[in-house]
């Protein structure tokens, strides 16, 4: 019978599946089979205890600094609650709660900018704590309460090549950028920028061999602190620039760069 032969066929993949020795397509096919095969699930569990021991036998000394990076990243990484278990198993990642909508005045703009504001304030506080090195008890407290953070920020901040730059703005205020070239991303925060008239906002740009790309308008800060903003799509030779523009934003800078940082 066709059904039976197909079942048997899928079932013979069990060893290969337990060792990830199959293509993505075969994996999918096998997992469909697995969904209806209680017995297979049990067998796989047993085989995986065996592969785990094979793996454990190759234990080797860890590279220096790895632990510190893992622990730092864990500190800024939000954990999944058990309730999300199902979604996670089906491969639907809990999407970072981007509030891109409030950032972009026009949908036509490239969506490169993400405000790391899951459970907003706390995530921002956390990243600012990391970026500005502020670690007073009060901040920690807020962080723990909200258990919020941004994986994207963590990825940049904990990258091996993460590199921090601080620039004083000519009209007052400070900008901090943590950039990771291997991650093609940066985290931007600003403190004490001069407030602009209501009709204007700060606009962030990437400019370089790939042209000048608008990243988006900086959000209003709280207590003078803006961000953290994760900017992805950073390419070799890019500079990060800031201008003040009409609040609706422009496709090209219309005022002189107030900030121009080689990344």
């Amino acid at each position: 019978m066709k059904l039976i032969s197909r079942r048997t066929d899928a079932h013979t993949l069990i060893g290969a599946y337990a060792m990830d020795a199959i293509t993505a397509r075969d994996r999918e096919r096998f997992e469909r089979h697995l969904a209806g095969c209680e017995e297979c699930a049990r067998e796989i569990a047993g085989l995986r205890e065996a592969t785990a021991m094979l793996g454990a036998a190759t234990a080797r000394p860890l590279p220096a600094g790895l632990k510190e990076r893992v622990m730092t990243a864990a500190e800024v990484t939000r954990q999944q609650p058990p309730a999300e278990e199902q979604a996670a198993r089906t491969g639907t990642r809990a999407a970072p709660r981007d509030i891109t909508g409030t950032w972009f005045r026009s949908l036509a703009w490239p969506g490169r900018l993400t405000l790391a504001a899951g459970t907003a304030a706390a995530a921002a506080v956390l990243a600012i704590a990391v970026v500005f090195g502020v670690t007073n008890g009060n901040m920690r407290q807020q962080l723990n309460q909200a258990q919020a953070s941004s994986r994207q920020i963590a990825v940049v901040l904990t990258a091996q090549d993460a590199h921090m730059m601080t620039r004083a703005m000519p009209n007052g205020g400070t900008v901090r950028i943590v950039v990771s070239k291997t991650r093609h991303a940066l985290v931007f925060t600003a403190k004490g920028l001069r407030p602009l008239p209501a009709s204007q906002e700060y606009e962030l740009w990437l400019t370089g061999p790939a042209g000048t790309r608008s990243i988006g308008m900086l959000p209003a800060g709280s207590d003078g602190v803006i961000g953290p903003v994760v900017v992805s799509g950073v390419r070799a030779g890019d500079h990060l620039a800031l201008t003040d523009e009409p609040a609706r934003g422009t496709a090209r800078p219309t005022t002189p760069m107030m900030l121009d940082v080689a990344l």
Binding site: M19, E39, T51
Partner: protein, 200 residues
């Protein structure tokens, strides 16, 4: 045909978590799921060397291996609440994740076709692997069990698990039909499971 493993009694488990009982790691992962940094630290100490070992075996490149190791450990932290004790040990959960990620990384970097070609010129790395798993009791046990397999079983297992090749690549390397390799892989794992005293 008898399905191996389906007739094993359920309650009689021996830990795959080394000398210490499985419960120990299970308690720790429970604490990690609640955001306990100290428990995560302890878990790291126990499992990170194995994660790095298996990832590096598959990926080879040290920098990429380190990156994937970091991702895996962070994933453990992030999804600790997903761990389901009824489905196996913490070690198996973490090592499965590590191996899968390493393999995915390697396969996303090289197009399958290229890899098929490259693989055909590779030597079977048996000596290297057995050398790598030579010291310590645990390793000695794994080595002894590996030696109890037939040649095709052992080589299939080593190329698939330690090197991250697909069964069709393994078949090509060994000059054996794919159907045979699939069967040998399953047989090899079942024999390893029984030899290592894992029952599930």
């Amino acid at each position: 045909m008898r399905a191996f493993g389906s007739q094993e009694p359920q309650g009689r488990r021996r830990p795959a978590d080394g000398a210490r009982p499985r419960d120990d790691l299970e308690a720790q992962i429970g604490l990690v799921a609640r955001g306990d940094g100290a428990a995560f630290d302890a878990l790291y100490e126990r499992l990170a060397p194995s994660v790095f070992g298996v990832v590096k075996g598959v990926i080879r490149d040290p920098a990429q291996s380190e990156e994937v190791t970091q991702e895996v450990l962070l994933e453990v932290w992030r999804t600790a609440a997903k761990f389901a004790p009824g489905r196996g040990s913490v070690t198996a959960w973490v090592m499965t994740m590590a191996h899968r990620r390493a393999v995915d990384r390697v396969r996303s970097v090289q197009k399958e076709a290229e890899r098929e070609r490259r693989v055909a010129t590779e030597e079977v790395p048996y000596d290297e692997v057995t050398e790598a798993v030579e010291s310590s009791l645990e390793r000695e046990r794994v080595r002894r069990c590996l030696n109890s397999l037939t040649d095709v079983q052992r080589e299939s297992l080593i190329l698939a698990y330690y090197r991250g090749h697909t069964y069709s690549q393994v078949a090509g390397l060994l000059g054996v039909p794919t159907g045979t390799v699939k069967t040998r892989m399953r047989d090899a794992l079942i024999r390893m499971r029984d030899c290592l005293g894992v029952d599930e």
